[in-house]
């Protein structure tokens, strides 16, 4: 533990105190000829709750998806826990490089479309990666999965299939599935955008509870009320660039015209 801290401090490049658990430097990303991210820099401190917001098509989700390499950056540095997982910076050669598989075992993700596996019951949805990734026995995996389901308040739905659950319940199972793997960082990609309005509350409540445990989180959301409440660091994006970011109180105190306009339009 002590050793890890020393290593992280040694590898962290941000001057002030603790090294960020997630660090993006100069991330660029294109899909075919269409560039969607331009020189993205982002630091996420351990235990911090980062909210990314902005108009659709602004690259919010792509930033999030680059953190677990579902979208591989074309250039730039992506460090998680001090280890380089991206293409890296030209100025930094010979840094420790990690494999995508190892990265994804440290980073959990929750999707807009839940992406539960419809052929497995809620319990086995949570248990499957525990068996495949951590090689637990079926019984052990189910027990660990049950604990995760209890955490999101769905232990009584363990034997239900996704088709038998409401959207909100499905999303909470998806949260449990990611949490069961004991991630160091959780990514939420518009977790309530596919839900009926009356189901948004229960999912936000679950995410809030996860936040209260001190989990490091990056959340892309249109729920600005929620963002205001949990966001330690708030990032406004437009056209593939970070326009402005700031700490709590950002929604009242932001200075750029575009962020103000956007907030005025949606709030």
């Amino acid at each position: 533990m002590r050793m890890n801290q020393i290593m992280e401090e040694a590898q962290g490049s941000s001057g002030g105190g603790q090294a960020p658990i997630v660090q993006l430097r100069g991330i660029n990303k294109s899909f075919d000829k269409n560039q969607v991210l331009f020189d993205i820099d982002l630091d996420v401190q351990r235990g911090q709750h980062v909210v990314i917001f902005g108009p659709s098509g602004s690259g919010k989700s792509t930033v999030l998806r680059s953190i677990n390499l579902l979208a591989k950056p074309d250039s730039g540095s992506l460090k998680v826990g001090g280890i380089e997982y991206g293409p890296g910076l030209p100025s930094e050669v010979g840094v420790t490089r990690g494999a995508g598989l190892a990265l994804r075992r440290k980073v959990g993700m929750v999707f807009q479309q839940f992406n539960l596996f419809p052929h497995l019951c809620a319990l086995d949805n949570v248990a499957l990666p525990l068996r495949k990734v951590h090689h637990l026995s079926k019984q052990q995996a189910r027990e660990k999965a049950a604990i995760a389901l209890r955490r999101v308040g769905l232990i009584d739905r363990a034997a239900h299939y996704p088709a038998e659950l409401s959207g909100g319940q499905q999303q909470r199972v998806a949260i449990a599935r990611a949490l069961a793997l004991d991630p160091e960082v959780m990514l939420f990609d518009e977790p309530t955008s596919a839900l009926d309005p009356e189901l948004v509350g229960e999912v936000l409540k679950t995410i809030r509870e996860v936040a209260e445990t001190g989990m490091t989180m990056v959340v892309v959301t249109h729920e600005l009320g929620f963002a205001k409440e949990v966001g330690d660091l708030n990032v406004f994006m437009e056209d593939g660039r970070i326009v402005e970011s700031g700490p709590r109180g950002f929604y009242e105190n932001c200075t750029s015209d575009r962020a103000k306009e956007f907030l005025k339009a949606v709030m």
Partner: protein, 258 residues
């Protein structure tokens, strides 16, 4: 001749021979079904491979979907013997001929079924740290099989019917048996009607069996088999739920190996 002038009792009198013919046809078709499902799945996976490999699958599929069963079996039974000196039994030749053709059909069925599984499920698997082969086997394939099942059932009925062309190599299936009976009784109308009835009954039975399998595969499961399986699963899960609620399972009791 009126309807009743035909000797319909011939059907009953020769029921044993006809049913034996059906068994032969079913045996060939079932063995070929197993081989074709595996082969078709392999071809479907090959279709997703990088280019020179995917072309092999594409070319194979398009050739063998176009070949009639009659041509296929003549080619396997006589052609292979002439070219390579390998003599298959009629049963083997029938199985190989059917498998060659239906692998191509199953390849297309599995390709579309795999494509119907949302890509988000694969991404979720990646995000959870699973490897691509693990995701294929435990996420994509089970869903694709469920989607493919009704089509596999229809194809299997087609396979049983296609065995009728194997009379040309002397396989004692329904049509061959019928031909033999016609040669001695001179009642083709009666006996071919009997053959038709046998095929239709077989088709109904196959449809019923595949419906049962489909029911067991739907989530939540339907049908007798599905319900039984689910009851068993519920029992196991509720034991875990009860222990969790009683507090005997805690975060400490199951740890991830590191």
């Amino acid at each position: 001749m009126a309807f009743f002038d035909y000797d319909w009792s011939l059907i009953w009198d020769n029921r044993e021979a006809l049913i034996n013919g059906l068994w032969t046809a079913l045996s060939v078709a079932i063995v070929a079904l197993v081989i074709s499902v595996v082969g078709g799945l392999g071809l479907a996976v090959l279709r997703t491979a990088p280019k020179p490999f995917s072309w092999i699958a594409l070319v194979y599929t398009n050739i063998f979907r176009g070949v009639p069963a009659l041509v296929s079996v003549i080619w396997v039974y006589f052609g292979v013997a002439l070219l390579l000196g390998i003599r298959f039994t009629v049963f083997q030749a029938g199985v190989i001929a059917l498998s060659l053709l239906y692998s191509a059909f199953f390849a297309e069925i599995f390709r579309s079924a795999l494509a119907a599984v949302p890509f988000g499920h694969t991404e979720a698997g990646w995000a959870l740290g699973m490897r691509s082969p693990q995701i294929f086997l435990s996420v994509n394939l089970p869903q694709a099989v469920k989607i493919a099942l009704p089509n596999i059932g229809s194809m299997f009925i087609g396979m049983v019917k296609d065995t009728s062309t194997f009379t040309v190599i002397g396989l004692l299936e329904v049509v061959r048996v019928t031909q033999n009976l016609v040669a001695t009784t001179f009642q083709p109308f009666v006996l071919y009607t009997a053959a038709a009835i046998i095929y239709v009954i077989a088709a109904f039975a196959i449809d019923l069996i595949f419906r049962l399998i489909e029911g067991a595969y739907v989530r939540p499961p339907l049908g007798i088999v599905g319900r039984l399986l689910r009851a068993r699963q519920r029992q196991l899960i509720h034991r875990i739920i009860d222990r969790t609620k009683a507090g005997s399972l805690t975060t400490e009791s199951v740890r991830l190996p590191n």
